[in-house]
């Protein structure tokens, strides 16, 4: 602002000065120009110094400047080598320090193969099912950003891309962008953290398939007051209204909404239960006058002995979904569920199973069912090899017997462990 004022002054001054035509003003002009130059140089050097000092500070996360008088013996191991002795010139910002502010980058490859026979939903023998690129960083003191781009067989998609406001008053956490909605548990999970290669039948039939309810919108959540030891959280979300084959937005007002209440309690140090109730509503592909409502319940029990957490654990989960779809000639009320368990045998092997059953959303009298057995091997924390035998009995008495196998591999930044 000051700079603009100074420039404006310079522009106006000649008009006034020309009348007097004195050497005096010419000199003052020169002095002003000099001053602008020196100010500009100062700004540049300040910028350079800031860029170089901020980078190591971001790595060490707690800025040292906050401690008023650092103890004499304290060393700052990460910061030392990068800090320059004086202001540096800026050469297009291509310094090593600039890279330190790049987001954490990760790539997750998901290769799926299939053998056997499925007359209804055939998947190819081999496919590079998904390559997910994750870009994650803290944006500023008030928010962080997360992007997950998926490169699939059909092209590129934005699985999620949102900003999370972490410093809102009143304990609120808000997310804005495209995100997997909080309907149930499996809908929130990315493919690479599932306990299976595929998704349960109830997801396929009632909750939008692989992508699920994944839409652009706003999410607000907050931890609610609850009796001692109980975690209670409510989430409210509003989306555009386009999610796979569940919700379709024919006009701007056809937004969809998702609400969820989650309760969690530690039973002991090593066991806990997690319960959730979810509700979603939106308009379906028949037009604005036709709505689809979903109601979901989920329950999870976990056992993980703390001393041997990396060797043994057990998780069992059930999700129930009721769907009410307005359509012609009559409303379809469908129900579906899955129940699944995983047991970690040792550091490298996990065995699991799942039972599926679900009506179809558009014709609730048709019910598909099936079961799966899963065996997973982990060479390290960053790769996973999985086999899954899947039997499906489709509504019209057609059977599918398949063996699926999957290779998952993670490059780059160490992501958060799933819970």
């Amino acid at each position: 602002m000051r700079k603009v004022f100074v420039i404006a002054c310079i522009l106006i001054t000649p008009w006034v000065a020309s009348a007097q035509e004195s050497n005096d003003t010419q000199e003052r002009l020169k002095a002003l120009e000099e001053r602008i130059r020196s100010l500009e140089a100062e700004v540049q050097s300040l910028k350079a110094a800031q860029a170089t000092t901020q980078a190591p500070a971001a790595q060490a996360t707690a800025p040292v400047a906050q401690t008023p008088t650092p103890p004499p013996e304290v060393q700052l191991p990460t910061a030392a080598p990068l800090t320059p002795s004086g202001p540096l010139p800026v050469y297009g910002g291509a310094s090593a320090a600039a890279k330190a502010l790049n987001p954490d980058v990760s790539v997750i490859g998901d290769f799926i193969g299939a053998t056997g026979h499925n007359p209804v939903q055939s998947i190819p023998a081999f496919q590079m099912h998904e390559s997910e690129v994750g870009l994650q960083a803290i944006i500023d003191p008030y928010a962080r950003g997360d992007f997950f781009l998926t490169f699939g067989e059909q092209g590129v998609g934005l699985e999620e891309g949102y900003i999370t406001f972490t410093s809102l008053p009143g304990g609120f956490v808000a997310k804005v962008g495209k995100m997997r909605s909080s309907f149930g548990v499996v809908n929130t999970l990315h493919n690479h953290v599932l306990s299976w290669i595929d998704r349960p039948l109830v997801t396929e039939n009632l909750v939008g398939g692989e992508d699920g309810i994944d839409d652009a919108g706003i999410s607000i959540s907050r931890i609610l007051p609850a009796p001692e030891g109980i975690f209670l959280e409510a989430t409210g979300q509003v989306f555009r209204g386009d999610s796979g084959d569940v919700f379709t937005s024919s006009q701007r007002s056809d937004v969809s909404a998702v609400g969820r209440v989650r309760g969690y309690r530690d039973l002991t140090d090593s066991t806990n239960i997690d319960l959730g109730f979810s509700y979603a509503r939106g308009h379906n592909d028949l037009g604005s006058a036709y709505r689809t409502e979903l109601f979901g319940m989920d329950a999870t029990f976990r056992w993980k002995p703390l001393r041997r957490a990396i060797y043994h654990n057990f998780l069992t989960r059930t999700e129930l979904v009721w769907s009410r779809r307005e359509q012609f000639p009559s409303i379809q009320r469908a129900f579906g569920f899955y129940t699944s368990s995983d047991y970690r045998l040792n550091r490298r092997w996990t065995v699991g199973g799942r039972y599926d059953q679900s009506d179809r959303a558009r014709n609730a009298s048709l019910t598909d069912s099936g079961f799966s057995g899963v065996l997973t091997y982990w060479p390290s924390e960053f790769s996973q090899i999985r086999g899954q035998y899947r039997y499906t009995r489709y509504a019209d008495a057609r059977d599918a017997n398949e063996f699926l196998f999957q290779f998952l591999f993670v490059l780059g930044a160490h992501g958060a462990h799933p819970f």
Binding site: Q59, A60, T61, A62, P63, Q66, T67, P68, T69, P70, P71, E73, V74, Q75, L76, P77, T78, I138, P141, R144, T164, T166, S167, L168, G170, G171, F172, V173, I220, S221, R222, I223, L224, P225, G229, F231, A234, G236, V255, A257, G259, R262, Y264, D266, D269, R281, S288, R291, L306, R307, A309, I310, Y311, R347, S380, H414, G415, A416, H417, F419
Partner: protein, 316 residues
Amino acid sequence: MRQPFSRFVFSTFSFIAALAFVAIYPSPMAAASKLKVVTATTDLAALAAEVGGEQISVESIARGYQDPHFVEAKPSFLLKLRQADLLIAVGLQLEIGWLPPLITQSGNPRIQVGAAGYLDASQFSEILEIPTGVITRAMGDVHPLGNPHYWLDPENGRRIARGIQLKFAEMRPDDATYFEQRFQSFAQRLTTAEKTWDEEMKSFHGSKVVTYHRSWPNFAKRFGLDVVGYVEPRPGIPPSPGHTVELIQMMRRENVKTILVEPYFDLKTPNSIARQTGAQVIVLMPSVGGEKEVTDYFKLFDYDITLLTRALKSAH
């Protein structure tokens, strides 16, 4: 104008409004008497308690007998974090698998990374094994910023305590002298204890040991142990038969008679190595609270050094 949309928007926003109402109801920012401190690990909690005394309440997320790399991001921890005034983390990516999501979900602006209530203890400490040159995951789950088990050197404990003291003083200036006094008392007791520990360990300087994970570089450097091998072929990679055979041969060659194992690792492989080499397996505590009697930072070293000297004595 009674469109479904308006009803819909009404119901959605009434839900959000209800949430907002609930938000106003509890006010955790009441002029609390004690500074609420949450730490990632028990060691930091122990150091914070030494300095903070009566003026703080402190809780650790991880337990002392738990692998700090693999703590679960349980929602119950959010209940602690949302009320916290200060979060002290180990840093150096030790908690990368679980602390970031907890911080994000806590809804607590005070403890966000970079805020006044977030303290990374690694900035105060001497960090070892900072990798230089090319780093890849072929080296296992390497920590690019250095080895995060740095609290196992009492000198680092002193530095961390000092850093915590300054942070406390910054957050509660009225109690600054109290924290200063407590730190001085802690530092004095530590100096005395260090003399005892050094005395006990003196005759075992240069003793060769094998450890399960790379948890002990600071401890080994401080007390003169020579870590010559690891049960894990690479950090975070479970023992493999090939590596175990090599390790056994090396231990026989170098006459290594002690294997140190953290309480959260399986003893099967270490025991089998011990049987074939005549070595002794000891479960050493990397953290306060790993065993019932290890209740503070001093007892941690007391416990470990007692076990260690006993084992090294019998090996001689």
